[in-house]
C-alpha cells in the first residue's frame, strides 16, 4: 500500500511497537516526539495519516489537532488520537477538535490496525 503514517508520540517504546505493527501492515512509518514542532513536521512531510498522542512535551495533542483542522491543507487529514488519561472529557474535547478516531491506551494491536485501515478506506 505504501501509505505514509506519522506517529507523534513521546514514549519511545510505544513508537517502537507502533512502528513494528504498522510497517508490517505495509505503512511507511515516521515518528516525531515533540509537540511544539509537530504541526510544522506534519505540514512538511504531508502524511496520509497521523497518530497523535495527547500528552506531548511542548504542546498538547488537542492543540495540534485544532491547528491542523484550521489549516485548509490539513483540514481533512485523518487523525487517530491516543490518550493514556482515559477520561470521558478527553473524548469530548477530541471530538470537538475534529478527531477522526479516538482510542484509549492501552490498546490491542488488532484494534489499532483495524482503526488505521478504516481511516484509510475512508
Amino acid at each position: 500500500m505504501g501509505k505514509h503514517v506519522l506517529l507523534v508520540e513521546d514514549e519511545l517504546n510505544i513508537v517502537e511497537a507502533m512502528r513494528f505493527l504498522l510497517s508490517r501492515d505495509g505503512w511507511r512509518v515516521e515518528a516525531h516526539s515533540d509537540g511544539a514542532s509537530a504541526v510544522e513536521v506534519i505540514r512538511g512531510t504531508r502524511p496520509d495519516l497521523v497518530v497523535l498522542d495527547v500528552m506531548l512535551p511542548g504542546k498538547s495533542g488537542f492543540d495540534i489537532l485544532g491547528e491542523l483542522r484550521e489549516d485548509a491543507t490539513t483540514a481533512d487529514l485523518p487523525v487517530l488520537m491516543l490518550t493514556a488519561r482515559g477520561q470521558a472529557r478527553d473524548r469530548d474535547m477530541a471530538e470537538k477538535a475534529g478527531v477522526s478516531r479516538f482510542m484509549t491506551k492501552p490498546f490491542s494491536n488488532t484494534e489499532v490496525l483495524n482503526a488505521v485501515r478504516d481511516l484509510m478506506r475512508g
Binding site: I14, A17, F20, A84, R85, G86, K105, P106, F107, S108
Partner: protein
C-alpha cells in the same frame, strides 16, 4: 397702753434686726462660715413655717370662734403631706434639685417639654391665686394696727385704706431689699431663709405665750379651760363631714402647690435628708401653732364684748387684760407671719414672672442683639423688683375691692383652691409618663376657669363683679350654670362645691386630653426623667460644688464610655492628683482631656456641649443630655450589634465561599491527580501490552527481536513498580503516617552513601565535586530519609544535566542557625515558569526522559518538611541548583 408710735418703732427695729440677720447670714454664707446653721434641718423646718401666715396667727382663732374645729383641717393636710414625705415630697425635692427647678411654674413647664406657654399660664394663675392671700396679710396687719389705735382712743383712729397702703409699701420695700439685692444662679436666698426662720420662732413663741397666758393666766388651768370649751357656743362637734374631708385635701394640695411653699421646700432645700427630719418636726410645729387656738377663741368669746372681731382675739385678749407687753409680742408674731409670707410669696412669684414672662418677652424683643450677661442681670433684677411691686399692688387692690372685711379664713381658702389647681398636673407629671402638655394646659385651664367662676368672683360678694342674679339664677337664667350650684348640684357648701368641681374636672380633662394627645419628643424625654427620677439620680448627698461636678462628669462619662473605662479613667486621674478617693478634682486639664475622650464616642460638638452643661452654666439640664446620651448609646449599641451580626454573616459567607473554592480546587486536584495516575500507569502498560501481543501473535520473530521486546516489557514493568512505590511513599508522607527513625550521624557519611547509591543505579555519569571540610557536621535526624532526598537530587542532576561535561557541586554551608546543602550542576537551569510547579506531583523537569513519573521532587519536599527543614530551588547559580535546609536542632557541631 402702748402707743401706736411705739408700736411702729418696735416694728421698724424688728425689721432692721431681721435685715441684719439676713445680711449677716449671707455674708457668712459667702465666706463659708456658719454653713452648718444655714444648712441645718432646723432652719429648713422653720422656713417651712411660712405656711403659717397671718391667717394662722390671727385667722385661726377667728376661724375656730366661727366654725369650731374646722380650722384644724388647714394643718392636718400639710401634716399628712409631711408625714407622707416618702410619697410625693421626696420626688419633688429630688426632681427640683437635679433639674435645678426654680419654681412650681418651672417644674410644670420643664416636665411638659419646657413649654413656655405652660410656664406663663402657671405664673399668671399663681399670681391671681396668691393675690387674695397677700390681701389677707395686708388686711391682718391693718386690722392689728387698728385695734391698737382703737385701744388708744378715737383721736388716733386711722384710716384703714391708707394704713393698708402704707403697710403694702413697707412690705414691698422690705421684699425688694431682702430678695433682690443680688441674683443667685440657683434662686436660693440664704438670707431670706434665715430671716424667715427667725420670724418662725417669733410667731411660735408669741402664739404659745398668748395661749399659755390664756389657759393658765385667764382660764385658771387646763381642766377649767376644757370645761369652759365644752360650755362655749362651739362646745360640741358640729362639723360638716364634706367640709372636713374637702378642706383637709385642699390644704394638703395647697401645701404642695403654693409657690412660696415650693420655694422653701424644694428650691431652698440644701439636703434631701432635711426632709426626713422636717417630716416629724414640721407637723410638730403645726401642732404647737394650733394647740391654743380653741382655748383663745373660747376665752375670747367669753370675755370680749359681743361683736368684737374674733380674728383679732390674739391681740385683743392680752390688751383687754392689760398685758401690753404680751400684746406687743403678739403683734410682732402676727407681723412676722404676714411679712415672711409676703416676702417669700412675692419672691417666688417675682422669680416666676421674671423668668417665664418678662425674660422671654425681653429676649424676643432683643432678637439677634448681643446679650451681655451684665445686661441680663440688670434686666432680671429690675423685672423682679417691678413684679414684686405689681404683685403687692394687686394684693392691695384685692383688699380694697373685697372691702377689707371678709373673714381671713374665707379669703385664705379662695387662695388655696386657686393654687390647688396645680396639683393634678404636678402629681400627674411626676408619676405618670403619659401626661402631656396639652392635657396639662386643658386641665389647668378648666380647673382655673371653674375656680374663678365658682369661687373667686362670688368671693367678692353678690353684685360686686358677678351680678346677684347670676349667682342666684345662673347666667342668662340658665340654672345649671349657677356658680354655686353647677349642673344642678345644690345643697353643697360653696367651698366644697368649688373645690370638688374644679379639681374633679381639672383632673378629668387633664387625663382625658393626655390620653388622646401625643407628646412631643422633649415632653417624653422630660416625662421619663421626672417619673424615673430615682433611676437617673443616684444617692442623695450633701451639696459640694466641686465634688458634685466630678460626680456628674463621672456619671455622664460612664454613660458614654461605659462604666469600667470611665471609672479607670477617673481613678487614674485621682491617683495622678494624689487623691485617695475615686473622684479627681475637675481641673481644667482633666476636663479638657475628658472632653477629648468623650468626643471620641459622641463627636466633638456634643462632647463640648455636654461638658459645658456640667461645668459651665446650665440652661438645659444635665439630665436631659444624659438621657439623650443614654438613648443614643442604646442606639449605638443596637446598631453596632447589627453591624457585628452582619460582619459575622459576611465572614461566614466568605468562609463558606472559601471552603467551597477549596473543595472545588480539591476536586479539580483530585481529577487532575487521577488523570495523572491514569496516564502514568497506562503509558507503560501500553508498551507492555503492545509488545506482549507482538510476541504472542507474530510468528517468525528474530531471537534478538524477541529479547529486545521482552526487555522493553521488563523495563516498563520496573517503571510501573517504581511508580507505585513512589505513590505509596508520597501518600504515606502526605498523610503524616511516616515514622521517622532518628539517628545521629555525620553529614559526610550521608552524602557518601547517597552518591554511591545514585551512581550505582544509573547509566548517566556526572562528576561530583565536594568540599569535605565543610561536611564535618553531626546530624540528629532520620538519616535514611535524608539520604533519599540526596539520592533524588543527585539522580535528577545525572538525568537532566545537559552540559557536555556534566558536573555537580555539593556544597555545605551555615546559614544563620541552619545547615544548608547545595546541589549545583552546570546545566542550563530550570525555566522560571517550571520552577513554580516542579515541586508539585507529576511535574516533569526533563522533557526528553519520560522515565520519571514527576513525583521525585514532591517526595523530597515532603520528606524535608517532615524533618523540619525544606528543599528549595536556588536561582542565580548559572546551573540547576537545589538547596536542602536542615534546621539547627538536627545539626550538631562536630567536635
Amino acid at each position: 397702753m402702748a402707743s401706736l408710735n411705739t408700736l411702729i418703732a418696735v416694728c421698724l427695729i424688728y425689721v432692721a434686726f431681721l435685715f441684719g440677720v439676713a445680711f449677716a447670714a449671707e455674708r457668712a454664707g459667702i465666706r463659708g462660715r456658719a454653713g452648718w446653721l444655714l444648712r441645718s434641718p432646723l432652719v429648713y423646718t422653720l422656713s417651712l413655717s411660712i405656711y403659717c401666715t397671718a391667717w394662722t396667727f390671727y385667722g385661726a382663732v377667728g376661724y375656730a370662734a366661727r366654725s369650731g374645729l374646722e380650722y384644724v383641717t388647714i394643718y392636718l393636710g400639710p401634716s399628712l403631706v409631711m408625714i407622707g414625705w416618702w410619697w410625693v415630697l421626696r420626688r419633688l425635692v429630688r426632681i427640683g434639685r437635679s433639674h435645678k427647678v426654680t419654681s412650681i411654674a418651672d417644674l410644670i413647664s420643664s416636665r411638659y417639654g419646657k413649654s413656655n406657654t405652660l410656664a406663663i399660664v402657671v405664673t399668671l394663675m399663681a399670681v391671681i391665686g396668691v393675690t387674695p392671700y397677700i390681701a389677707l396679710q395686708l388686711q391682718s396687719v391693718t386690722l392689728s394696727l387698728s385695734i391698737f389705735a382703737s385701744a388708744e382712743g378715737a383721736a388716733t383712729r386711722i384710716d384703714s385704706a391708707s394704713s393698708a397702703l402704707w403697710v403694702a409699701a413697707g412690705l414691698a420695700l422690705f421684699t425688694v431689699l431682702f430678695g433682690t439685692r443680688n441674683l443667685n444662679a440657683n434662686e436660693r436666698h440664704h438670707g431670706v431663709v434665715i430671716a424667715v426662720a427667725v420670724e418662725a420662732v417669733v410667731k411660735l413663741v408669741a402664739l404659745l405665750a398668748v395661749g399659755i397666758f390664756v389657759v393658765w393666766g385667764v382660764a385658771g388651768g387646763l381642766p377649767q379651760t376644757l370645761a369652759r370649751i365644752d360650755a362655749s357656743p362651739i362646745g360640741t362637734w358640729q362639723m360638716q363631714g364634706s367640709r372636713w374631708a374637702a378642706l383637709t385635701v385642699l390644704s394638703a394640695a395647697a401645701f404642695l402647690c403654693l409657690p412660696r411653699m415650693f420655694q422653701v421646700m424644694v428650691v431652698e432645700n440644701d439636703d434631701e435628708r432635711h426632709l426626713q427630719i422636717a417630716s416629724w418636726a414640721f407637723p410638730l410645729y403645726l401642732m404647737l401653732m394650733s394647740l391654743f387656738v380653741v382655748p383663745i377663741a373660747v376665752v375670747g368669746l367669753d370675755l370680749l364684748p359681743p361683736g368684737s372681731n374674733p380674728d383679732l382675739f390674739v391681740l385683743s385678749l392680752p390688751l383687754s387684760q392689760g398685758r401690753d407687753g404680751l400684746a406687743t409680742l403678739s403683734f410682732l408674731g402676727g407681723f412676722s407671719s404676714a411679712t415672711s409670707m409676703v416676702i417669700v410669696a412675692t419672691l417666688a412669684l417675682s422669680t416666676m414672672v421674671s423668668n417665664h414672662v418678662v425674660m422671654p418677652i425681653w429676649l424676643t424683643l432683643r432678637t439677634g442683639g448681643a446679650t451681655q450677661s451684665g445686661d441680663v442681670r440688670d434686666v432680671v433684677i429690675f423685672a423682679r423688683r417691678v413684679s414684686i411691686l405689681v404683685i403687692i399692688a394687686l394684693g392691695y387692690v384685692y383688699y380694697r375691692a373685697s372691702g377689707g372685711s371678709g373673714a381671713l379664713a374665707a379669703i385664705g381658702l379662695i387662695s388655696f383652691a386657686g393654687v390647688a389647681q396645680f396639683l393634678p398636673v404636678t402629681l400627674g407629671g411626676i408619676f405618670w409618663r403619659g401626661a402631656t402638655r396639652m392635657g396639662a394646659l386643658v386641665g389647668l385651664g378648666t380647673g382655673f376657669g371653674l375656680w374663678v367662676y365658682t369661687m373667686l368672683l362670688p368671693g367678692f360678694g353678690a353684685g360686686a363683679i358677678l351680678p346677684a342674679g347670676v349667682i342666684d339664677a345662673g347666667p342668662w337664667g340658665i340654672s345649671w350654670l349657677r356658680p354655686q350650684a353647677l349642673f344642678g348640684v345644690e345643697g353643697l357648701d360653696p367651698t366644697v362645691h368649688a373645690v370638688l368641681w374644679s379639681l374633679a374636672l381639672n383632673s378629668l380633662s387633664f387625663v382625658v386630653v393626655s390620653l388622646v394627645t401625643f407628646p412631643r419628643p422633649l415632653e417624653r424625654l422630660q416625662g421619663a426623667q421626672f417619673v424615673n427620677i430615682f433611676d437617673h439620680s443616684g444617692q442623695a448627698r450633701g451639696w459640694n460644688a466641686s465634688v458634685a461636678e466630678s460626680e456628674d462628669l463621672m456619671i455622664m462619662a460612664q454613660r458614654i464610655l461605659g462604666a469600667a473605662e470611665a471609672q479607670s479613667l477617673f481613678q487614674s486621674e485621682a491617683r495622678r492628683q494624689g487623691l485617695s478617693g475615686h473622684l479627681p478634682e475637675p481641673t481644667p486639664k482633666f476636663v479638657q482631656g475628658l472632653e477629648r475622650e468623650l468626643a471620641g464616642s459622641v463627636g466633638a460638638a456634643t462632647a463640648h456641649a455636654m461638658i459645658g452643661q456640667i461645668v459651665g452654666g446650665t440652661s438645659v439640664s444635665v439630665q436631659d443630655l444624659m438621657a439623650v446620651a443614654d438613648e443614643s448609646a442604646q442606639m449605638l449599641e443596637y446598631s453596632s450589634q447589627l453591624e457585628a451580626k452582619s460582619r459575622e454573616l459576611s465572614q461566614t459567607a466568605a468562609q463558606l465561599r472559601e471552603a467551597n473554592e477549596k473543595l472545588t480546587e480539591l476536586s479539580l486536584q483530585k481529577d487532575a491527580f487521577l488523570s495523572q495516575i491514569s496516564h502514568e500507569l497506562r503509558t507503560p502498560m501500553t508498551s507492555i501490552r503492545a509488545f506482549s501481543e507482538i510476541l504472542r501473535d507474530t510468528e517468525g520473530l528474530h531471537p534478538e527481536e524477541k529479547t529486545k521486546y521482552a526487555s522493553i516489557i521488563h523495563v516498563e514493568t520496573i517503571r510501573l513498580t517504581r511508580l507505585l512505590d513512589d505513590l505509596l511513599d508520597l501518600s504515606v508522607l502526605e498523610n503524616g503516617q511516616v515514622t521517622l527513625n532518628r539517628q545521629s550521624g555525620a553529614l559526610s557519611d550521608v552524602l557518601d552513601h547517597a552518591i554511591t547509591t545514585a551512581q550505582a543505579s544509573t547509566d548517566g555519569r556526572i562528576a561530583i565535586r565536594r568540599s569535605r571540610g565543610n561536611e564535618a557536621v553531626m546530624l540528629q535526624t532520620d538519616l535514611d530519609r535524608l539520604s533519599q532526598v540526596f539520592i533524588n537530587l543527585i539522580t535528577n542532576a545525572q538525568k537532566y544535566c545537559a552540559a557536555d561535561a556534566p558536573a555537580l557541586t555539593i556544597d555545605v554551608a551555615r546559614d544563620g542557625g541552619a545547615v544548608v546543602v547545595d546541589f549545583i550542576d552546570n546545566g542550563s537551569g530550570i525555566p522560571a515558569q517550571a520552577r513554580q510547579v516542579m515541586f508539585e506531583k507529576f511535574s516533569r523537569l526533563g522533557l526528553q526522559d519520560n522515565k520519571g513519573a514527576g513525583l521525585g521532587l514532591a517526595i523530597c519536599r515532603e520528606i524535608m518538611h517532615r524533618l523540619g527543614g525544606d528543599v528549595v530551588y536556588r536561582t542565580g547559580t548559572g546551573g540547576t541548583a537545589f538547596r536542602v535546609i536542615l534546621p539547627q536542632a538536627q545539626s550538631l557541631a562536630a567536635q
